[in-house]
């Protein structure tokens, strides 16, 4: 049994790539709010809940949306699919927003719509709902993307725990920078593995 990268998607503040091919360049250096709206339109995504999400969830949503296009999403068996992500800054953007809502006692107005986003694994929950994925969804916090850890973890899910697919990679949104790279990993019994899933799977050739 061989494991392979079926497809990958990367979003940085300057461009969006699908399997190494440019999908959208942020030539005007748009701030995230406009940039993500543009990407959402270009992906022809139709998902009103997107507009309620915080930026971390919007970023992971768009990355996964592009990852699972071309009907790959439809081919996933939700029960046999897991999502295992790395992240550094947790939900700091929403944390700061929630903090500002209660720090001045005489003007305190905490909101459940903000508070619910003050956990990093909410982005995984949003992806599970969107793509009806009901396998394990785990969020690991790391200072930078620890591909070796993710590789061992995901390999075990696919080879020993009965999973067929796994979405793995990195999504992070801090006050100063953001970026995401997601990989759809699957199994191949026979035929050539074009993109083997290995311990350095995030290193672009």
């Amino acid at each position: 049994m061989n494991l392979e990268i079926i497809t990958d998607t990367t979003i940085t503040s300057s461009a969006i790539y699908k399997d190494g091919t440019l999908f959208l360049a942020n030539e005007e250096h748009l701030p995230f709010a406009q940039y993500c709206r543009k990407a959402y339109q270009l992906m022809e995504a139709s998902y009103p809940k997107f507009f309620k999400m915080d930026n971390l969830c919007k970023l992971s949503f768009l990355t996964a949306e592009l990852l699972l296009t071309e009907n790959i999403g439809g081919a996933l068996n939700g029960e046999k699919t897991a999502i295992i992500l790395g992240n550094r800054s947790s939900s700091i953007i929403s944390d700061q927003k929630h903090y500002e809502s209660y720090v001045e006692r005489e003007n305190s107005f905490p909101s459940p719509a903000v508070f619910v986003y003050t956990l990093p694994n909410i982005m995984l929950g949003e992806l599970c709902i969107r793509h009806q994925i009901t396998g394990e969804s785990s969020c690991f916090m790391m200072e930078d993307m620890d591909a070796a850890f993710l590789f061992h973890y995901v390999q075990d899910l696919l080879l020993n725990e009965g999973y067929e697919h796994c979405i793995t990679g990195w999504v992070d949104f801090s006050p100063t920078e953001y970026g995401a790279e997601l990989y759809l990993i699957g199994k191949r019994d026979k035929g050539e593995v074009k993109r083997p899933f290995g311990i350095n799977f995030n290193q672009k050739v």
């Binding site: 599970c128 009901t134 850890f149």
Partner: protein, 383 residues
């Protein structure tokens, strides 16, 4: 490969060791009290909070002023477990840390300035703790909302099973903060009386704080504390894919997590002698659990929630409650579900109202569910 827990430590408002905590639980003592603390909330509320002054004096060690209160608790708890275990090969050991909000109090910039580095970042906090013990490998940090503690145990089990390490220090901690309190208040999820899991009069959660540590290994010969000795028989995790802040009405995710744990342990539902439920005492969570356990035909298995003793300790909960699950198996005593008097979910469940002597316990199941739709289950076998 068989993996065992061989030591434990737990610091909560009820005590500074797992033994002290368990002794209090057997006496039906709760850590929940009325809290009047303007730094947390202008109004009085119920919570299971540390007597901060007392605990701060407890967690003192050389150089401790460089660490935040939560980091000190982690260090204190891990240190106790390492002292119990004795000499271990750190090259073959990994630290797995579970938390939801970590050093969230450092959103206050004045407080943040007191500590070196960006300690509000969870992996940075974990590195600081890891470095204190001169652990050579990077720590693994899990943040899966309220199920983080069970996720950490299952992650540690996996890393040992894969042969990457022989031992894992599994630690979990969170504090009762204004951040979390105001958030759950905005959800109208906080009970105005001590929480009453599975009871007809339940009105929501009571928040708590704790720090707890287990030590998993593939070498049962290292057993340090017989009260903590158990085999990790199986585990599973699944997502409801239903709602980010509400449990699924069908309990599907929890059912799948329990089924995976049973499958991994090669057990049938009837083999489980005891369930430590999540039992937060919100209307919907407890109802969802009742639906799930009935689907699994586990409605007759003795069950309790430990939230009536510790409150909801968030990222620590899965580890706190696993430690107490194992201690119940080993002592042959099942604890009454504190706050439970009259059955309050629509399906039957065997909720224990009183402590019960149960000398022949073998398998205990810990279940847990959280925001983001995640569910976890882990089965321990008395070793």
């Amino acid at each position: 490969m068989e993996i065992f827990n061989i030591a434990d430590h737990l610091i909560s408002p009820l005590g500074c060791s797992a033994g002290q905590n368990f002794a209090m639980l057997k006496k039906s003592r709760t850590g929940i009290s009325k809290i009047t603390d303007d730094s947390l909330c202008p109004q009085t509320f119920y919570g299971a909070g540390y007597e901060t002054h007392t605990v701060e004096q407890q967690v003192v060690f050389e150089g401790c002023e460089k660490y935040t209160f939560l980091e000190r608790l982690f260090i204190y708890s891990i240190d106790a477990v390492l002292k119990a275990v004795g000499d271990i090969d750190k090259q073959r050991t990994v630290l797995v840390l579970s938390t939801t909000k970590g050093n969230i109090g450092l959103l206050n910039e004045r407080k943040a300035k007191k500590y070196e580095g960006n300690r509000i970042e969870l992996p940075v906090m974990a590195r600081v703790v890891n470095d204190y013990f001169e652990m050579p490998h990077r720590p693994v940090v899990v943040s899966n909302a309220c199920i983080s503690g069970v996720s950490a145990i299952l992650t540690a089990q996996k890393l040992i099973r894969l042969g990457l390490y022989d031992h894992a220090i599994v630690t979990g901690g969170d504090l009762l903060t204004e951040f979390v309190l105001t958030g759950f208040q905005s959800f109208m999820a906080i009970s105005d009386a001590p929480c009453r899991p599975y009871d007809v009069a339940r009105k929501g959660i009571t928040l708590g704080e704790a720090c707890a540590t287990m030590f998993l290994t593939n070498n049962p010969g290292l057993v340090a504390k017989t009260e903590a000795f158990a085999r990790v028989a199986g585990g599973g995790q699944a997502n409801d894919a239903n709602h980010i802040s509400g449990p699924s009405r069908t309990g599907r995710g929890l059912r799948m997590a329990v089924s995976k744990a049973l499958e991994g342990a090669k057990l049938q539902p009837g083999d489980i002698d005891y369930i430590s439920g999540h039992g937060t005492a919100t209307l919907y969570n407890d109802e969802m659990e009742a639906v799930a356990f009935n689907h699994l035909n586990m409605q007759d298995t003795p069950l309790n929630s430990l939230k009536g003793y510790f409150g909801h300790t968030l990222g620590a909960a899965g580890i706190v409650e696993s430690i107490i699950t194992i201690r119940q198996l080993n002592e042959g005593v099942l604890l009454g579900s504190h706050g439970y008097a009259e059955h309050g979910v629509t399906q039957p469940l065997n909720v224990l109202a009183e402590n019960q002597e149960s000398p022949n316990l073998r398998y205990g199941l810990k279940t847990i569910s959280g925001f983001g739709g995640c569910n976890g289950a882990v089965i321990f076998e008395k070793a």
